[in-house]
Every structure is written in structure tokens, then in C-alpha cells.
């Protein structure tokens, strides 16, 4: 990124905005500091009218309930827009007012009908309920009938309808009557306004309601037709207007004096020439700076540039934090680390193939810009590694090993038993070679953390030498811890190879102070010296040496790779053994069908649980263990003027 400053006379501002908006190249830095000469600019003249149009259009879109963009877009001419929006608004607001009126009336009528219905079933004219001086009239719905009401209250006169009762009692007895009626679950209703037969009033209200219902449907039909006719226009016009408003309001982000303007921003360095050539003819002055150095106190926006396969991983990076301009983009690092971890944890050719299949489906059928598609693609890449690990390392598909290893429990099943002989031999059996699984996890951890420190060193070297030296110290400390763990686990095949072949040059002399006896393991002298390299961290923070324990915890945290791998394989193998022995092998056809159904359900559960836990743990190892070693983030995404969404240039 390079700093770009464009200045010119105020009358050139509209053309300048037009060109910059078209180019989509400059990330504008908003002008804040007001002084006597330069103030924040005022919107261009058409801004008020454009905004007004936009508000009207949005209200039209909301009345017509236009949501999804139509397939065909209309071409919009801004000059004709005002007239069209006004006439459309007039039409629609008339229909909308009619609809609101009809809906209001319908609501009133429904209430009137509800009020009248109990009175219609009693049959007395409405005026009979009012106008008494010595009588109280109680009308209400009752849950149960009140057969013997008149016995304790001979003074009362009762009229009944289905579920309704009207009681006329002298005022003095009204309390007693209410108490009695309360026992039958009375809910009182108000006496509706009006006179005459409630049945006739009810009939009239129902007829009215039906009439208004038909009218409302008619209005809605007309609105529906309008929606079909104008949806394309409304969506296209809204988009076009948003662009115009964006342009008209752009001066709010610039510094403007009485006669001139200054636009400040960032431009990708490789495209400075293009910007310069395009604004040269406008008669404005432009000045471009060099790329900012790492120790400069400026924060240009960040445009992540990655090859296509790495793109989905940018989502995981932004979820944590956008990298700042002066540090390495960890997307590529994550592309390698996350899928390998995922694959190691799942480690099953069958599940891996299913994850891959979902990936292919997402690639072909899901919309390109959706986060869901990116997520599935990330997982599918993990699925590829799971497939590879399952096929070549663990010799396992859907929890069943290809061939039974020596020492396997007698009830365990293998693909061989079903007549499928894979020509591949397993290198590691997850539940029998736990030591191997542990060591490989630690090896992955050491590689992952080591790379993180290396990236941390690169990030810091241009920024602060002190911090860079601390990273070297931590790298050496990690290596020291790793050598002790490798020596301890050198009885495993992978550990043995690393210790005896890859680390054959490493001095074997043990430390002389008896630390190893205390812990029950041998500790090479050089490892101890390397661990003390953590004291280089003192240049960064006085409590750095205490962090050695933290680093050991970080490294052991990678044991979760083995833990989840073994747990998932054990659950799958347990389900297989249980269901095959209890339902399928040597059982009749019907039980077998039920068994296969159960087996399918069990594998769906393992697939989902395994996928979720492996994905979360894989992400966590990156976020918690690794990113904290080198990644600061807090960057700003490059969002050039003219682009509504963050996009690549």
C-alpha cells in the first residue's frame, strides 16, 4: 500500500469523485481534524434529493415486501428516476392507505362480531340490557351450565344460550349472584352498543366483514401485481441510488477549504500508475508516498492476497482478527496446519471420503460468496487428509480396520472378515499404539509451534530487535523441551526414528545434576541449556522464564490430536462390534435390516460429533497455541471507494 494525496480546486471535486468511484482503487482515510482552513466537506448538491429518493424507494420496497433481488435487472437512468419514484410512490401509497383502512375496519368488525355473538344466542334485544335503576344485569360466558341457579336466588331472572348466560337481579343481590356465578367459571362480557335484535346486527356485521375481506383481497392482488411489475425496477433503482448517494456524500470524508479539496487515502502500490494516469487529465494535483516501513507508526489497510485454494481460510483468519499491515498473513500457514490436524484426528478413509464428497457438493452447488461454502471447503480439505491418513497410516474405514493387527481383542472386526482385502497395511493401530499417537501429536505440536516462532521472528525483526531475539529464545527453549520428550518417547517407532536418525547429531551427554533421576527420565545437558534460552525472553518481559511451564503446557496441549483420534476410533469400533455381533452376524434378515439401520444412525452420529470436535480442536490449536506466538492482528480491511463489500482489486 502507498499513501496517496489528491488535491485540487473545488469545482473539480465532482469529476474527481466520479473517476475515483469508477476506479475502485483508493481506500479513503476520513478527515477528522478540523482547523480554520480545512474543514470536513459538505455533501454535493444532489445529495439531499438522492437521499430523499432513496428513503421513498426503501419505503416502497417495504410496502411491496420486496426481499430477494429479481433475476433480471433493469437499467436505470438517474435523471428519470425522480419522476418514476414519485409516481410509483403516489400509486402505492394510495393502495397502501386503502389496505390499511380495510385492515383496520376488518379488525373492528371482527371485534363487533365477537361481542354480538353471545347476545345473538340469548335472543333479547340489546336495549333490554340497559336502563334499569334497581336491577343489575350480568352477562357472561360460563364454563358449565347453572341448572339450579334460581333456587337460592328466586328474585333473579335468567336467560340462557349455549355457553352464555344473562342474569337480571336486584342491585342488593348482585354480589351474591356474582359469587354464585363465579363458581360456574363466569367471565363477564360488555354489552355492545346499538339497539334492536342482536342477531340482525350480527348478520349485518358478518356481511360487512365479508365485503371488506373481498375488498382487501382485491387490494392485495393489485399490490401483488405491482410487486411483480416493479420489483426489478425498485431493486435496481435502490442499488443505483445507493451508489449515487455514496458519491454525493463522499465529501464528508474529505478535507475542504473555501476553494480547494484534499483527498487522503491508500492505494495498492502496484496500481499507483493506473490511478495517476486516470486523474492526470482532471487538472488536480496528486502525490504518492512510498510503502511504509515496518517501524513507521502508520497502519495502512490490508488486502490479503492469496491463491484461490487459500481464500476460504481467510475467513478463519478474519474471525480471529484481520492481520495488520506489518505482519505475515497466516492464511497459508493455516491451510497447511488445520487440515492436517483435522485429518489426523478423524484418520478414517470412509469418513474422509464423505467429507470430501460434501466438499465437492459445496464447490458445485453452493453460492460462491457464502461463508457456509467456505466452511465446508475447509472441512473437506481436512477430509482429504483424513482419507489419506485413514488409507495409508491407520488402514481404517468407518471404524473398521482393513486387517486385524496381532494383539487385537477377539471380538474386533475387520474388512477382511467381510471379504474385502485391501492391499494396504496399517502403520499405526490407534488403540494399540497409543505411544505412537502421542509422539506424533507432540511432533506436530513442535513443528507447528516452531513455525509460529519463526513467523513471529519475521514479524518482529523489522519492528523491534528485542522482541525478535525473544522469539529466538523461545524457539530454542521449545526445541530443548522437544528433545527431552523425544528422548523419553524414543521407544516408539516415530520417536525412535526422530531421535536416532533425524536428531543423530544431537549431543547425548546427560546433565550431571540429577534432575533426570528426580523425574525418572534422562535429560540431555544440551536440552537444559536450550531451555535456559527462554531467559532471552527477559528482554521482552521480566516474567518470561515463568512462561517455560506455559510452553510445555502448549506442547502437551497437542496431545488432543491423539486423544480425539483414539476416542473417535474407539467409539466407532465399539458401535461396529456391538451392532454386528448383536444384530447382523448370524441373525435373520429382518434383524439384520434393523441392525444396518442402527449402524447407519451410529455412523451419522460419530461422523457429526467427530467432525465438530475435530474442527473446533483444530481451530483452537491454531488460535490459542499458535497465533499467540506471532499474530497481533487488529488490521483494517482494504475497502476501496466505490466497492460496497470488501473485495479484491
Amino acid at each position: 500500500m502507498s499513501r496517496a494525496v489528491i488535491a485540487g480546486p473545488r469545482d473539480k471535486l465532482p469529476q474527481c469523485i466520479e473517476v475515483l468511484h469508477e476506479l475502485k482503487l483508493i481506500h479513503i482515510v476520513d478527515h477528522h481534524g478540523e482547523d480554520d482552513t480545512f474543514r470536513i466537506g459538505k455533501p454535493l448538491a444532489p445529495a439531499a434529493e438522492l437521499s430523499d429518493n432513496l428513503v421513498k424507494l426503501r419505503s416502497i420496497a417495504s410496502i411491496l415486501a420486496i426481499k430477494a433481488p429479481p433475476k433480471e435487472k433493469e437499467r436505470i437512468r438517474i435523471e428519470e428516476l425522480r419522476q418514476k419514484v414519485l409516481s410509483l410512490e403516489l400509486n402505492i401509497s394510495e393502495e397502501d392507505a386503502a389496505r390499511k383502512k380495510a385492515e383496520g375496519l376488518l379488525g373492528d368488525l371482527e371485534r363487533r362480531i365477537d361481542e354480538l355473538r353471545p347476545f345473538a344466542s340469548i335472543g333479547l334485544p340489546l336495549e333490554a340490557y340497559r336502563g334499569y335503576e334497581s336491577l343489575t344485569v350480568i352477562v357472561g360466558r360460563v364454563a358449565r351450565d347453572i341448572p339450579g341457579f334460581e333456587d337460592p336466588m328466586p328474585v333473579a331472572e335468567v336467560f340462557r344460550g349455549p355457553g352464555v348466560v344473562a342474569v337480571f337481579v336486584p342491585k342488593a343481590s348482585s354480589e351474591q349472584a356474582l359469587a354464585l356465578l363465579g363458581q360456574s367459571g363466569l367471565t363477564q362480557v360488555d354489552i355492545p352498543a346499538g339497539e334492536g335484535s342482536p342477531q340482525a346486527l350480527l348478520d349485518a356485521a358478518v356481511a360487512d366483514r365479508d365485503k371488506w375481506k373481498a375488498r382487501l383481497e382485491e387490494i392485495q392482488g393489485r399490490l401483488e401485481k405491482m410487486r411483480e411489475r416493479y420489483a426489478a425496477f425498485v431493486v435496481a433503482a435502490e442499488e443505483a441510488l445507493e451508489v449515487e448517494v455514496d458519491k454525493a456524500e463522499a465529501p464528508l470524508r474529505f478535507a475542504v477549504s473555501d476553494h480547494s479539496f484534499v483527498i487522503d487515502g491508500w492505494v495498492p502500490s502496484s496500481r499507483l500508475g493506473e490511478l495517476g494516469a486516470n486523474i492526470a487529465d482532471l487538472g488536480v494535483y496528486s502525490e504518492f508516498g512510498d510503502k511504509p516501513k515496518a517501524d513507521e507508526d502508520v497502519e495502512p489497510p490490508v488486502l490479503l492476497k492469496n491463491p484461490k485454494p487459500v481464500k476460504p481460510f481467510e475467513m478463519l483468519i478474519h474471525l480471529y482478527s484481520t492481520p495488520n499491515y506489518h505482519e505475515l498473513d497466516p492464511s497459508l500457514f493455516m491451510l497447511v496446519a488445520f487440515p492436517v490436524f483435522f485429518g489426523f484426528m478423524i484418520g478414517d478413509a470412509g469418513y474422509g471420503a464423505v467429507f470430501l464428497m460434501f466438499g465437492i457438493i459445496a464447490l458445485r452447488w453452493l453460492p460462491k460468496e457464502s461463508d457456509f461454502r467456505r466452511l465446508i471447503l475447509i472441512i473437506a480439505l481436512g477430509g482429504f487428509w483424513a482419507f489419506a491418513f485413514g488409507l495409508f497410516v491407520y488402514g481404517e474405514a468407518f471404524g473398521l480396520v482393513f486387517h486385524l493387527p496381532p494383539g487385537a481383542p477377539p471380538e474386533e472386526l475387520s474388512w477382511d472378515m467381510f471379504g474385502l482385502h485391501f492391499p494396504l497395511e496399517a502403520l499405526i493401530h490407534k488403540t494399540l499404539n497409543i505411544g505412537e499417537m502421542f509422539y506424533i501429536s507432540i511432533l506436530f505440536g513442535a513443528l507447528h509451534l516452531g513455525t509460529s516462532y519463526a513467523m513471529g521472528f519475521v514479524n518482529e525483526i523489522g519492528h523491534s530487535r528485542k522482541h525478535a531475539v525473544a522469539k529466538i529464545g523461545w524457539f530454542l527453549c521449545l526445541f530443548g523441551i522437544f528433545t527431552i520428550l523425544t528422548r523419553t518417547l524414543s521407544w516408539t517407532r516415530v520417536g525412535g526414528w526422530v531421535w536416532n536418525t533425524a536428531l543423530a547429531w544431537f549431543p547425548r551427554t546427560l546433565e550431571p545434576w540429577g534432575l533426570g533421576n528426580l523425574l525418572g527420565i534422562g535429560i540431555p545437558l544440551v536440552s537444559v541449556v536450550l531451555i535456559f534460552a527462554a531467559f532471552l525472553g527477559l528482554v521482552e518481559s521480566p516474567i518470561a522464564p515463568l512462561e517455560i511451564g506455559g510452553l510445555l503446557a502448549n506442547l502437551l496441549s497437542y496431545l488432543r490430536l491423539a486423544g480425539i483420534g483414539i476416542a473417535k476410533a474407539t467409539i466407532a469400533s465399539t458401535f461396529n462390534t456391538l451392532i454386528f455381533h448383536s444384530f447382523i452376524i448370524e441373525h435373520d434378515a429382518l434383524t439384520s435390516v434393523a441392525g444396518f439401520f442402527l449402524l447407519f444412525l451410529a455412523h451419522v452420529v460419530i461422523f457429526l460429533l467427530g467432525g465438530v470436535s475435530a474442527a473446533i480442536q483444530g481451530v483452537r490449536l491454531n488460535y490459542v497455541e499458535s497465533f499467540t506466538k506471532f499474530f497481533r492482528g487488529n488490521g483494517t480491511i482494504f475497502r476501496p471507494f466505490g466497492v460496497r463489500e470488501p473485495l479484491g482489486v
Binding site: 474471525l319 480471529y320 502421542f438 502437551l556 496441549s557 488432543r560 473446533i616 483452537r620 488460535y623 490459542v624
Partner: protein, 72 residues
Amino acid sequence: MPDPMAALSAALTMAGTGIATAWAEKVVGGATVGAMAEKPELFVRGLILMVIPETIILFGVLIAFLLLSHVG
């Protein structure tokens, strides 16, 4: 030398660290969901804090594994 108490110790280690992890995650998880209701962008920070206690049970697994070598 085979040591039956080692098997019991391994089981206790797993149970203890399992309960400890669950308890810690319950506390963090509850607070995270509460915080996310107000600020959904705290999801990632919450997720990270939420899975940190899992390291406890991993150490449990490691110690249980070391103990198992004494079971015979």
C-alpha cells in the same frame, strides 16, 4: 511390577480431570453465551476461552497413560 492400585489411580485421574474440565467449561460457557447475547462478535474469543480448560483432561490422559504402564 504389576500394580493394581495403578489402574485405580488411572481411573481416578480420568474421572477427576474430566469433572474438573466439565466444571470449568460450564462456568466459561455460561458466561460466554451471556456475553454473546449482547455482543455476538465475541463468539471467537468465547470459543477460545471455552476450550482452554480442555487442557486439564489432556494432562489427565497423559498421567493415566503413564500410570497404565505400571498396571501390567
